[in-house]
Symmetry: C4
């Protein structure tokens, strides 16, 4: 089974700087969910774009065949952590077709807020 594209973009990116509620479930976070429905390991590279400095990355991840992987931007570490309260965008590339969805849990206030959208799929 194969579905998806090899290049994706998420224009909106923002890690809320604080949270309410029990950790880690209700910790404010920015997440990227990746589906690799195919038979080969996906080698995924994420490049981050900022407003006032050069891109950072690639951050490298593997998604095993026939697996889902939910990555929290909050946990990105190599080459460097992502600052909170700072807008960014991301481009995701893979050697095999994947599907990417963007989700944020914002629990800065006592009630959590959620957003989600399928990322922008490139032409390949």
């Amino acid at each position: 089974m194969s579905i998806g594209r090899k290049q994706w973009a998420i224009a909106e990116g923002y890690i809320p700087p604080y949270s309410h509620g029990p950790s880690p479930q209700m910790t404010s976070h920015e997440a990227m969910c990746i589906l690799n429905a195919g038979d080969e390991t996906a080698h995924v590279e994420v490049l981050l774009f900022y407003e006032t400095r050069d891109p950072v990355g690639p951050y490298r991840f593997e998604v095993q065949p026939r697996r889902s992987r939910h990555l929290r931007f909050n946990n990105f570490e190599d080459p460097e952590p992502i600052p909170t309260d700072t807008p960014f965008s991301s481009v995701i590339t893979s050697n095999v077709p994947i599907v990417v969805q963007h989700t944020r849990l914002d629990s800065r206030q006592s009630a959590n807020a959620l957003l989600s959208t399928i990322a922008f799929a490139g032409d390949h």
Copy 2:
């Protein structure tokens, strides 16, 4: 009337483990809304992808001609229920064109939160 595709994917999947408010309306849930605008019954198969084990499914559903159907992942039973508080992804295939939209109501906190996005449409 015909609109849609025969293959769809939702990369994000997560059933919140608890809820606030009256059941079933305000029960935390993950839903997949399917539109079959055509003249033939849609035979829909959903395959679930997890982070650390092999895919589960297919879950099979029918959507009658010219009908809408809102499926809660919470209620999936055959071949097995979906564990709560566990990330997953889904691929939806149909014999005729359908339209798929992903929605979550998260009522873990006293105020509900909502997300929705049109699923990723495959090439066919």
Copy 3:
């Protein structure tokens, strides 16, 4: 200027049955926002699909050239009002290209919740 498609679908549809907060701004509602960026009047027809009965419509609307129009499903009247607390889907067709976005404000609880997604664009 021309942008958009002539056929759109929103698989998810649901008018929450009650509300908190001042009316009409915080009234729970399901909305369809239409952009007609072109030079001709858009004659828009909306057909509603239900889970257990035949489609209802078309509901007819005009969107003037170079105009935006936000339609609340709550206010649909002809051929009949839409029942609350009842799932439905919609197909939107137009004689000229338009852009359609789906938004819900759910204020059943004391805090409002919002969702929005670009509708599914047909091939034409």
Copy 4:
């Protein structure tokens, strides 16, 4: 690296007229996030469409090469500010491919609500 399109549309637009919580982070706002992953400066023009008057704009912005830019509609000034509590739509055009995502923070009530969707990508 190049990803995106040169023409985008956001059918839904609305700046909530009031807010709760600390400014500017929790101020109700409507935002458009733009990614220019390419090597050339993007010259971006935004045209706003209203329900009962002619389009306003273009509002002009630059997005430097390999940069993200988060624009709040609340801060648009030239040729004129955008009225709050007034529905609008927008068309975004660029000389080079960009990716556009639409996000709203609505903090009219004590709890914030969030929505986000990738904008509608034109054919070029």
